[in-house]
Symmetry: C2
Subunit: 442 residues, 2 copies
Amino acid sequence: MTDNVVMTRLSTEQADFSEALDALLDRRMIEDPQTSKIVADILHDVRSRGDDAVVDYSRRFDRFTGSLVSELEVSKAQMQASLDSLDASLADALHTAAERIRHYHEHQKQPSWQYEEDDGSVYGQYVVALERVGIYVPGGKANYPSSMLMNAIPAKVAGVDEVIAVVPTHYGDDAGGAGRLIFAAAAIAGVDRLFTIGGAQAIAALAFGTDTIPRVDKIVGPGNVYVTAAKKQVFGEVGIDMIAGPSELTVVCDGKTDPDWIAMDLFSQAEHDEQAQSLLISTDKEFLDQVAASIDRLLPTMERRDIIRSSLQNRGALIFAPDLDAAMRISNQIAPEHLELSVAEPELWLEKVRHAGAIFLGRHTPEALGDYCAGPCHVLPTSGTARFFSPLGVYDFQKRSSIINCSPAGAARLAPVAETLAQNEHLQAHALSAAWRIPGRK
Amino acid sequence: MTDNVVMTRLSTEQADFSEALDALLDRRMIEDPQTSKIVADILHDVRSRGDDAVVDYSRRFDRFTGSLVSELEVSKAQMQASLDSLDASLADALHTAAERIRHYHEHQKQPSWQYEEDDGSVYGQYVVALERVGIYVPGGKANYPSSMLMNAIPAKVAGVDEVIAVVPTHYGDDAGGAGRLIFAAAAIAGVDRLFTIGGAQAIAALAFGTDTIPRVDKIVGPGNVYVTAAKKQVFGEVGIDMIAGPSELTVVCDGKTDPDWIAMDLFSQAEHDEQAQSLLISTDKEFLDQVAASIDRLLPTMERRDIIRSSLQNRGALIFAPDLDAAMRISNQIAPEHLELSVAEPELWLEKVRHAGAIFLGRHTPEALGDYCAGPCHVLPTSGTARFFSPLGVYDFQKRSSIINCSPAGAARLAPVAETLAQNEHLQAHALSAAWRIPGRK
């Protein structure tokens, strides 16, 4: 336990730096065929047998002892009772976090828009909220009432009619402990219905609907490999937010931040689970050694030191870059979920960021503040997917319809263009449908 | 050929109306396991063998006779030469359509935003374009240069650095005919690189990269079942836009539009392919009969009458609803890709629309105008997925990063909240990482 942590060291001075970094990141997403098959069978079974299948899997995988899905529902009264039973300081913290999350996400709401052309035609985009969504809040190696807030509040801000949350079954068995926090968070977030159903069976129930669980239009939130595989398989039949992998943090530091702070920031990522990845890029070799020393000194004081050690040794790295421009290039190659710019004048470096889920600027912005209460959502693209995914947000719970409203004059103006193109695509009905709106053509 | 078209008739007066409509829509997405397996093998092979595998599959499935992927690339000079060779009227139509598509999509561009709190902390969202995207433009039963414009222009408006288009191999064999139109459209749209590679092998090459084809961050555009299955399988490793099914149109009509116009609008959808779906909902039973008569009279004059007949008989329907409120409820149950509101004062009915990909308002706005040149994108959510998907748009080619920039005072204010929540989640490193930013705590 007092052994030093042996972390990977990388440097841009290595000839094979880029390959070594790629190997460390290990981003190839190869699905395990066995997991896919297990999940496909569960999906098929829940689609066919509905509630009965949900009960069976919850009994088999999650030690559920009842016989009805309705026993797995947590009523609004129970959510509220859980909230009422919390210590005032904890309830206050949850309320403050919720209020800040709500405030931030109000900025994301997208309005409908339209414009009129001089012929009187109107074009635009009509934006409405999704009707019903499911949110998955995982259990796993920690207990995340904060995730309930982070998933549900953007949906409510968007104006979703009905938000259905699912959490692993064990929360129902522990309604006085971990469950109480989750249920209280659900009350604060305004969740409409809550079921203690986990795993692929929860995703299946939300995607297809059962007699007890209504079918939703979109499922969001991270989960374990079964949940992730199930989300991917139902994608298309319902919407999903993203494909989530292990959580990760990249810190870019100019060497002027307290090394203990940086060590603790890396720990905060590593303590999630062994697969979490904490990377530090610095332009100061001595600073990398100082952080390594801080890690060794601080690790024995940490409650989750075994997880942290495993994560740092197997997945972490201390990376030297000759200057901050190089550091930013490495960061963009990583496309991190969380990026801390622990540097002087961090705003100046922001424009060098091309790929990151969330960017934490300055020495006083540790990722942990973003995890709980800064305001932005902590459901973020992982494993390099910040190249194309965005944080979960209000926009995930809104959808758009194009609006086309041609005046007779507008139709007469556009129809010849459409007719020409349709004829060249050999689509005669398209050509006539357009042309007949020209006066005198039909 | 002169036989009457036998179309399904539905009415809300039927006791089993809702079930009958669901049966007609047939929205269960069950993937064919054989297709999935074939596609998985192709993906695996292209990932392993790169260019060689792309060549092999293009030879096997697409009658490619060469031996190098580079032979399948269409240069910018070739694209421009194709454009230069077009008739002026056709080139003008393409330019007009492109200009209108560009103008509409400029409205979709989302800016970065931020706000400052009174403690000097800044929160916001940083919006940037994707770096490199792939667009798939299908071949199939028609030839769609318009799709090249509709896919590529929103990407260019977003500011994507490199747009790589792929089209089926046969366009390369027909560089003087159908290929010329597609290549010309690519030139107008500003496509950066173009390959005549189709099918799952094209999706694989874009998703994983090969020696010749660069790896992209997102793949958009509809295709056949192999393309769709491939996009779904690579999703997560790259972004994709949506899961596309057959195209469909729902017309809601108050009975006051020329029945020939409505018949031709239904034809314009049906002529795409046999699986296309054309539905008419009217509050006027006689009007439904008039449209049926128009269909019978007009069908023999149509070049694609066999496809139209098959589509209308197997997938189409004439639906009676007692009033427009009921018609709108049916339309929302359908969640159509294209919705024509061919009614008086269509703006008043817009707010009753909850689910539709694109909405065409008024008697003078046939879907065909939207397909080519109104401005909005014609890549739209199909098969009821307008419940959660949106039209392809500039937002598909932009991504967001959350911005958190805490001042020392802001960190000191947030840290106690984060600390309380982290302690309750038993995440000690999170708690300390936050708390150490409070003066005097470390």
